[in-house]
Amino acid sequence: MPNYSSLDQGGPHDEAESLLPWYATGQLEAAERARVERHLYSCAACREQLTLERRLIGEFQATSPQLESEWARLKAQIAPPPVRPARPSGLAELWSILSRPAVATLAVAQLAFLVVAASLLVSLSRPDYHALGSAPAPAAANAIVMFRAQATQKDVGDALGAAGASIVGGPTATGAYLVHVDPARRQALLARLQANGDVQLAQPVDGDSP
């Protein structure tokens, strides 16, 4: 006994339209299949949709998400960065830059320079007042940490946990996190992260670096 959904209750057209994917893959029971076929006979829109369903099935069968994911990662390393139409500012810009996969190909020294330069923008854009009665602001990011490609999620969690770092943003596709660490111990905590073999880069990002 087919289970009618709210989509089916609109009549034969709505029912057939909602079942077309499973009609196309041969997954309907005989009674449902017969109803869809009866409707297809008289509905050109559903026949066209069925053609699309079959194309989609063919495409999905030929597509490998794993391959797409790997290719996107490799391609990002060789594609030039696109020209941006508008220029955002502050932390958004820093994060946008660091979110680009191409950044992962930079040497650590180059990346560190980029982080420090962008940090200056962040510090300049930060308001220097706090309204009375306003809610306490969430912990702001004061460091960025990038992990090596082979680091597992557990490695990431262990490394950040050991430094008492809380994630404020990320990770980007390249494995970069904006984090907050105890400001008073930031230098020591970042040094601890830098000593971790899974960490590619750990730098302050708010321009207050010593």
């Binding site: 999905f60 990002a76 999620q153 990320g170």
Partner: protein
């Protein structure tokens, strides 16, 4: 009697015989048969890997969730009662594990320019249209939620019926139909300009 010949024929016959079905393998796994578990792993690893890649976007996370899923299968195979297909039971474990992983690790930040960047790949004319369609579909999938991607992939690639999908993602069949309905509409909109080439 030519025993070596018989043994040889038996081995050849065994090589030609189909793999044991999932239920038989699961029963052996429940009894602690590591060899059966390896066969089950080899059967399911490619399918689960694809499903998890569709749901999650990070290779390291996919590997971790796949391992967790198969460890649950190894440790709890004796609890499989046979009321559903073994594949439904295993995919449901994978879906739950992926869901928990997504709560711990939200989707990666997407490159905001991915959708607008024009590919500069040199491609022969006769391949260009298909490549464009293919790219449109990949981008359209990226724009769907993980729950919608799961239903689409289980339907179009894994060829599962809506009742089985409802068991895997643990929701009413109406929800599966609704998710599929809206996902198809989104896919259709997203591939928009390329649609005429498809039909």
């Amino acid at each position: 009697m030519n025993w070596p010949g018989i043994a040889r024929r038996a081995r050849a016959e065994a090589a030609r015989s189909p793999a044991p079905d999932d239920r038989a393998l699961l029963a052996r796994v429940a009894a602690g048969d590591l060899q059966a578990f390896e066969r089950l792993y080899r059967l399911y690893q490619p399918r689960l890997s694809r499903f998890l890649t569709t749901l999650l976007r990070r290779p390291q996370l996919i590997e971790e969730v796949l391992d967790d899923t198969m460890m649950v299968v190894w440790q709890t195979a004796d609890r499989f009662r046979g009321s559903s297909k073994p594949s439904t039971w295993i995919f449901a474990i994978a879906y739950r594990k992926a869901h928990k992983a997504r709560l711990r690790w939200p989707d990666p930040v997407e490159d905001p320019e991915t959708d607008t960047r024009v590919s500069d790949d040199p491609a022969p004319d006769d391949e260009l249209d298909h490549q464009r369609l293919h790219d449109s579909l990949i981008r359209a999938m990226d724009q769907l939620s993980a729950d919608h991607r799961a239903v689409v992939d289980l339907t179009y690639f894994h060829g599962l019926g809506y009742r089985e999908i409802a068991e895997i993602v643990d929701c009413p069949v109406d929800t599966v139909k609704t998710r599929m309905f809206h996902a198809r509409r989104r896919l259709k909109q997203a591939i928009g300009g390329s649609l005429a080439d498809w039909l």
